[in-house]
């Protein structure tokens, strides 16, 4: 693969990953958030595949396939199952409105570029130059976590955060050692399953998943 083609594909995929994150933040329907998350997962798998092709690494190709299965098939299926059982198709009035969210997204992306300067200067290459994208997605996921009120949108925010970290890991070091990768994927899957069960229990106990209902435990 020629370097120009590689760089173009790389930038395309990273741009797509960032765009998907921003769109997740923009949309209010939970179903379309899940679809966007699956799309982002596919782009992430594409990124891993691209790196595998460039480094001719069979191990990385396997990781790419694993990412594809986990993030495009398994996790969205789990989330959609949680969604079908609920009557809440839309995010309730978010704490921050869409315009402000978009503005914050822009600021957070700038912040990611500022913070990641030392990472890029350590090993300048087309791949590491895309690193800020990963950090930006992490920050966007974090932003989503603190500003949304539905249980499921928080799970989406957590997965966005996780995708951001995975992007960073692929761009920085072509992924972590295989045993760690396996541990991470398993943990994320289990955490999401746990959260799904909790969402269902919450619906029976509270009649909804608005997290503002969680205010029983306080000091005083």
């Amino acid at each position: 693969m020629s370097t120009t083609l590689y760089v173009q594909l790389l930038d395309l995929l990273c741009g797509g990953i960032l765009l998907a994150a921003v769109l997740v933040l923009w949309r209010r329907e939970l179903a379309s958030m899940v679809n966007l998350l699956a799309l982002q997962g596919a782009l992430l798998a594409g990124l891993a595949g691209l790196l595998a092709a460039r480094e001719r690494s069979l191990e990385l190709a396997g990781v790419a396939a694993g990412v594809l299965v986990l993030k495009v098939v398994v996790l969205p299926v789990v989330l959609r199952r949680a969604l079908v059982r609920s009557t809440e198709a839309r995010e309730a009035e978010p704490l921050v409105n869409v315009a402000a969210s978009m503005l914050s997204a822009a600021l957070l992306t700038l912040l990611a570029y500022a913070v990641s300067r030392p990472l890029v200067t350590l090993a300048p290459s087309p791949t590491t130059r895309a690193l800020p994208v990963g950090l930006a997605v992490v920050l966007l996921g974090f932003f989503m976590l603190v500003t949304r009120r539905r249980a499921l949108s928080q799970v989406v925010g957590f997965l966005l955060l996780d995708n951001g970290i995975a992007t960073t890991a692929f761009l920085a070091t072509s992924g972590v050692p295989l045993i760690v990768e396996l541990g991470v994927s398993l943990d994320v899957l289990l955490a999401v399953l746990v959260l799904q069960v909790l969402t269902a229990r919450m619906r029976t106990a509270f009649g909804g998943t608005d997290l503002d209902g969680l205010r029983e435990l306080r000091d005083s």
């Binding site: 976590l145 972590v176 045993i179 541990g183 991470v184 289990l190 909790l198």
Partner: protein, 497 residues
Amino acid sequence: MTAPDGGLVLLAPLAAPLLAAALAALLGWRPLVAWASVGAAAVILTSGIAASVATTGGPALTTAGGQLRADALSSVMLLVIGSVALIATWAGVSYVDDELTRGHTTAIGARRYAIMVPLFLATMVLAVLADSLGVLWAAVEATTVVTAFLVGHRRTRGALEATWKYVMICSVGIALAYLGTVLVYFAARNAGIDGAGTLDWTQLVTHADQLDPGVMRIAFALLVLGFGAKAGLVPLHSWLPDAHSQAPAPVSALMSGVLLSVAVYALLRYRIIAVASLDPSYVRGLLLTVALASLVLAASLLLAQRDYKRLLAYSSIEHMGLVALGAAAGTRLAIAALLLHVLGHGLGKAVLFCASGQILALEGSTRIDGVTGLLVRRPALAGTFALGLGALLGLPPFALFASTLGIARATSAAGLGWALAVAVVPLLVIFVAIVSRTAPMILGAPATTAPTVVRSPGASRALAPLVLGLVALAVIGVLGWPLQDLLRAAGDVVGSP
């Protein structure tokens, strides 16, 4: 020189809890299964003792091709896990029986408890024995997953709320720690450490001075934030009081006594790498900030605390803050003192949470003003609770007296006298707050409306593990035996000169 093979010593503490969990999955809750988890805890403790003997002054034990490794620091942590788990699982036997007879839980709930508790132990053992920092991370994250349903054991609204916060905050926190781990890996790869062992702690420590300071700066901040979440340190601490107050008592004991310190253990491992690779004053400043903030936060919330389980939870934040203060000092003496503190806090909290579980079963409320005159009505339980509180407050002869003094001495010797002076204020406030909040529970006249005590036959049996814990605390506190050499060796592993 090849390190001696630690085969059995390192594999047994992993295999025993896994076997106990498998047994529970097959048979459900029954006496054999309950005692199997106590046996697993005993195996962990025995391995901890064996590993301590081998690593005090000797080289580290390794097995499984170097994947599992125990140096003096890991040995101390094995001792902490084993001893706290022994108390908690032993107390858990009568706790779950009691829950079943009262109808607070079902056979399914009891089986889940019996599976998850040993699994929880296994993940913590893996965390302290893994040489790879990646595996350490995965094990710490796995503790969140296995304990999620233990926190939500009771299935009330409160328990559900606590579980949600716990899983969400800890998963996010630990995800940040993962990002930190990835950045360390990035720095290591660019420092020319290559191959499968790039994330191995032994490798990273040897080459720490070659890691890029700019990258390590971001990485260490993320690691402090992430593992700090799991350790109950500010700013991601808010899950802790909820989870500790809602979980079943033996699980609270394990979470407070061991889980928090396993996260601290991870920070200790990273600290020594960070100190060698970047400006030590940055590392110190970061740890000092979270330590002092945690102490102040705990003090402010303990002052008017009305719930005794939450009181114990905030006291955990306080003690972790103190441990972080020791880590900020970072000298060998400070590390030895803070490890003693971790052990003492673990044993003390195990005793107190298990005792508070029995008080809750007796009174049906976790409100402080709902409990009065305990000494008159249940002298043995009240005495255990009071002695446990004394241990927690750092009164002699218990171990926390020696360790608190040790941390204070080491901190001022490291030139952090001002930080110590700042820390003393919240510590005094906390001392007064805990004494004044809990004294009416133990002393005072019993309320006329208090439920009449039906002395259950198992009451003294349930107190046995707690008394054992108090005795251990006193012995360690008075004699320091047999730990001095081990703690000193552990201080050499991760302490700055």
